[in-house]
Symmetry: D2
Amino acid sequence: MLRFLTAGESHGPELTAIVEGLPSRLPIQTTLIDEQLRRRQQGHGRGGRMRIESDRVEITSGLRFGKTLGSPLTMRIRNRDWENWKEKMAIEGDPPENLQPVTKPRPGHADLAGVLKYHHEDVRNVLERSSARNTATLVAVGAVARQLLAPFGIRIFSHVVEIGGVAAREFPRDIEAIPERAEQSSVRCADPEAEARMIEAIDRARREGNTLGGVFEVVALGVPPGLGSYVHPDRRLDGRLAGALMSIQAIKGVEIGIGFEAARLPGSEVHDEIGYDPAIGYTRRTNQAGGIEGGVSNGQPVVVRAAMKPIPTLYKPLKSVDIHTKQSFEASVERSDTCAVPAAAVVGEAMVAWALAVSFREKFGGDSFEELQAQYQSYMELVKRR
Amino acid sequence: MLRFLTAGESHGPELTAIVEGLPSRLPIQTTLIDEQLRRRQQGHGRGGRMRIESDRVEITSGLRFGKTLGSPLTMRIRNRDWENWKEKMAIEGDPPENLQPVTKPRPGHADLAGVLKYHHEDVRNVLERSSARNTATLVAVGAVARQLLAPFGIRIFSHVVEIGGVAAREFPRDIEAIPERAEQSSVRCADPEAEARMIEAIDRARREGNTLGGVFEVVALGVPPGLGSYVHPDRRLDGRLAGALMSIQAIKGVEIGIGFEAARLPGSEVHDEIGYDPAIGYTRRTNQAGGIEGGVSNGQPVVVRAAMKPIPTLYKPLKSVDIHTKQSFEASVERSDTCAVPAAAVVGEAMVAWALAVSFREKFGGDSFEELQAQYQSYMELVKRR
Amino acid sequence: MLRFLTAGESHGPELTAIVEGLPSRLPIQTTLIDEQLRRRQQGHGRGGRMRIESDRVEITSGLRFGKTLGSPLTMRIRNRDWENWKEKMAIEGDPPENLQPVTKPRPGHADLAGVLKYHHEDVRNVLERSSARNTATLVAVGAVARQLLAPFGIRIFSHVVEIGGVAAREFPRDIEAIPERAEQSSVRCADPEAEARMIEAIDRARREGNTLGGVFEVVALGVPPGLGSYVHPDRRLDGRLAGALMSIQAIKGVEIGIGFEAARLPGSEVHDEIGYDPAIGYTRRTNQAGGIEGGVSNGQPVVVRAAMKPIPTLYKPLKSVDIHTKQSFEASVERSDTCAVPAAAVVGEAMVAWALAVSFREKFGGDSFEELQAQYQSYMELVKRR
Amino acid sequence: MLRFLTAGESHGPELTAIVEGLPSRLPIQTTLIDEQLRRRQQGHGRGGRMRIESDRVEITSGLRFGKTLGSPLTMRIRNRDWENWKEKMAIEGDPPENLQPVTKPRPGHADLAGVLKYHHEDVRNVLERSSARNTATLVAVGAVARQLLAPFGIRIFSHVVEIGGVAAREFPRDIEAIPERAEQSSVRCADPEAEARMIEAIDRARREGNTLGGVFEVVALGVPPGLGSYVHPDRRLDGRLAGALMSIQAIKGVEIGIGFEAARLPGSEVHDEIGYDPAIGYTRRTNQAGGIEGGVSNGQPVVVRAAMKPIPTLYKPLKSVDIHTKQSFEASVERSDTCAVPAAAVVGEAMVAWALAVSFREKFGGDSFEELQAQYQSYMELVKRR
């Protein structure tokens, strides 16, 4: 059983994550986690705060000489801005006299629903936790999951396929070329022509005080057949992936494989015919299912897509109501990002890595890395014999 | 903590579900469950088996004189065809001599992935459980969840918005009119013009030996603000809804509110401005968020949409490979439905009801119906004061 | 992840259990489950109802030709008395006119606490589920766990070591002889001299209208080292065993190894010294730890003990208060057992089997019996090399 | 759903705990947590390290101005010795050249089982996590649970009833006097006569290079009726308490109420008769059940007892085997405590607080402290009407 808890407020002293259920003796590198944190902080369309942050993880348990101990792994990410917030976000003691509670809930955020649910009188008590800042811990957790999966040949990448209505159309034939290009693109787009238009769209939106959403795709290569299960709804890999992706801030849609397109095509054009090649086993010429049939990975690349709404905070204000005075106002601006889709794609990779890792651990068990490797191999041999 | 387990093979003696975590003294009616089972079995485009089935639930625990006891509720649904399968699906004893194992995995089903994962030699051992037949238990479980939510004014309906590329366009202004029309439509569509073209498309597909998928929308009215949470990813209502819907057979995409459309619009057109009316509290003129902001219900109708791929079993065959001989073949036909989107919409309602019920129980606790009612009311009064 | 749900009222139509998480292709025999159900119904000191019951399990899912499918396994046990209770325990419809609600909570039962918690007005609504009758499903679930563990050489037995203050003293040197003797004893006691005095004590208690409790021991042989874990409290095997045993009706104490005796001895006499024999690996001359150190099985027999209080229902009445009139009364008698310790020992075995099976599945993963076997063997080879 | 994860190695930089599921607006005081940490570090019979430590908690999330935010609460406890272990316990990088792996597993510890399970080559990789040092986080978690329960009048205390065979006999009549005395006793014993003999026994054991275990009792006052449930085994309060207590290092036995004594008495002397007093509701003259009947709290004080084995590390050595050379040796001494029962009692309180808090949250739900209070009150009124 692989599980995690994350904690931390956006302007609190630090973010924390504990990951429990890793096998022992697995190599984990802090630099590989930092690399993911760095990727999350990039992308054309981000405002000022991203540059302040430059996150780094500090591991404080579960690892010794670069290998897991089998015990829970703790990761901490400091909020570099904490010094400036020490009083307004003080853990204990009285509020500073000049504290201005936030009383203006922003449309499109958890603000109003959070205030009602938790009976808060200061919207800050909601937004500090609901903030996308906290996806940093998800990325860190995902970066650990990736390092669990990597030795088994599972590799996860993402690319942005749409921003503000501008869609990528031309993808490299070689799937390996997609992440290469995406990593070099400031909008994580593998179609250079679309990339240019996406950047344009972002720049235009910024000038207009507007924001843009988009769609990103996450691909996992090397996923063995047999992760997830059809035997009970809550064990399906597609359900877990969808749940994990939809749990990322601002995501409003999730697709697996060709997704909504599958609803429009006739059955004769949707399903992936099965072939067999003695050298490699069962084969498919297409992968419209996105690597999952009946809730189970089928050995093809796992392909998922998520739709992100535009960032709700706007220069161009939205109407809202003060929770104390009940007076109408035009919603204030807290930050200055125009488009966070490239960053969200990195968070999406992390959640996909996590969902796969959970199903991987569930399938293979094993308490040490050696045991997990032996188990993986004996399964793959069973598979070959089928 | 509300939880369930379901069990049963498609041609086994019966399907079973146990629901644990209901409050005591809640009225539950078998007829209301049967009504949902009946709705699942209808719709233009279904083949012969649906007529055989005509499911009815039998409750064997957890209920006395029509009220819950607080103990687990068991529901059984007999498979009326069991008499004809008693030997081929015998629980114990040797297989009949003339047993023909299924060796031909169907593209688009769990067949091949399931055989690899579970090391089965007879594909029947997979398809009996992965079959959509088993959504009957989900509908039964959802029908219980509905009866938990109904006394609190929560009402869930669905309608089909797209089949085989034919999209509904004109919806009744009055949201209440949608379910009325949908219930009378053989394709569960509230737009009469689109309905006619959907029926046409299904009939044409049937003649061509093809199948069609589509998109359905589920709406929950009366959901109080505050279900779900932004404080941890696995407690978000949007994540739970997406996970639950994507866990239904053949679903490949899920949207909340305007979903993928939100990725295409600028921020200024996406978010739902907040108003206030002393008589009713906070108001919204739009509901593009689908009733969920920051993973928390905001008091607006919860609106989700799911994309169903076409049924994989085809008269028009697909290539596959025999798992024993490794010979290529053209995939066989096991059943004769052309389009199951209207039925899937009913399953979708059930899963939405379940996800809401889980979050509802989590928020309110309470061991008896009376206690739950008191808790609901005291919360709603707290909400009014904000 | 291995999990179960049970359901059923004592005088309802039937009891049901669903077990989810079994590997596929595991042989399961109904007769071996029935054998455990039969053992639960025996023992000197039981009254009339046990003879009525004679439970048999019916499996209705998850099994085909005697092997698991990997899908959830459903077991049903009919309540043979249901015909006589159809009206008083009717699932739906109005109560019969002559229904006499139970209003007299019995001390020592869940009756009063249950009525308060669930707001019931008829104590029957509590006692029907809290009844020890429902341990039948636990025994059935445990009988499945045993069949999961048996192929790996894990064997679980129990014997009664104390009844009403009469303690067994002389145990066979050969641990294998204990279950042999216990199975032949009407009080499941392996010490013939104590057995005679236990029977005497029970007979005397019956004559006096009294009841007796006692202590039973459960032993699991063949448990590999490494089940459970010290890395997080909720993964410890000792915690799981204690939780599972204390969850059996009427159990008020649990010990592992020498238990409370360990609190009285000096450290020099408590711990099991470690030896090494090239032929078999690490050895111990003693097993005071009961096979668990640091929450992890150490390869020695797992030995647990549980204390059962006397059955609360008495011929010799106890004072209580009518929940409607608030009048004091002397508590009524519902059944006639004098001592149920031998039966509880069988339930104890079931819960130990379950807790071990959960930890076994957690450690080894594996979706098919073949995969699980390969994983078990590769781990045992890793162990040998240490 | 209330849940926690803890992390940390005994000689790592720090211990961490995250608690998720607290209501918002609940007052939490760091000083009250520190007070519990201090209590854990005391007691006659502790060696040198305890004085080094003097733990203090630092809260880094989930709290603002002394009230919970509803988001996860993070607690960190620094290991003050970390400076001396930085190289030997380095998170990353190569081991220091002079690193001496621990190869000598100590009987009575997780050492050997842990090495086998996790395939470790250095026993330190086990003992760092299995160490009782890590109970500091449990105490911190429990101190939060206490602060959740305290506003509802639930108060938890402990006292030591036996050390090394010396049993307390004379308890103050007034239950309130027990904690008063216990807090002043260096062995946490409320019987002054036994206290003196316990201290003597510890001193003698220390002189002899031996260690002593004992038995402690934890009492929870003010627990409302209705926590836990009989409807499913895993929801019983007795099972949760037993599981939680048995998960503490070195605990080998758990009792509820009179525990094993209940197995020896006849039924007529075991059960707590029920009375009624219009002013206070249902009453009991005795509390042999320890406040739990049928797995549910009945409104009486919850009383549990746990048996702790003597600390395994001995001046008087035990035989063991080097895991690399397979040579026999006499087990080394790592620390110098003679008796840790008084400290374990404090850990026991924490685990009892946690188990109660979980059942309390499960019963009452509620997202804010205000909501929880309203829910508690409306339930207590329902109870009064019964």
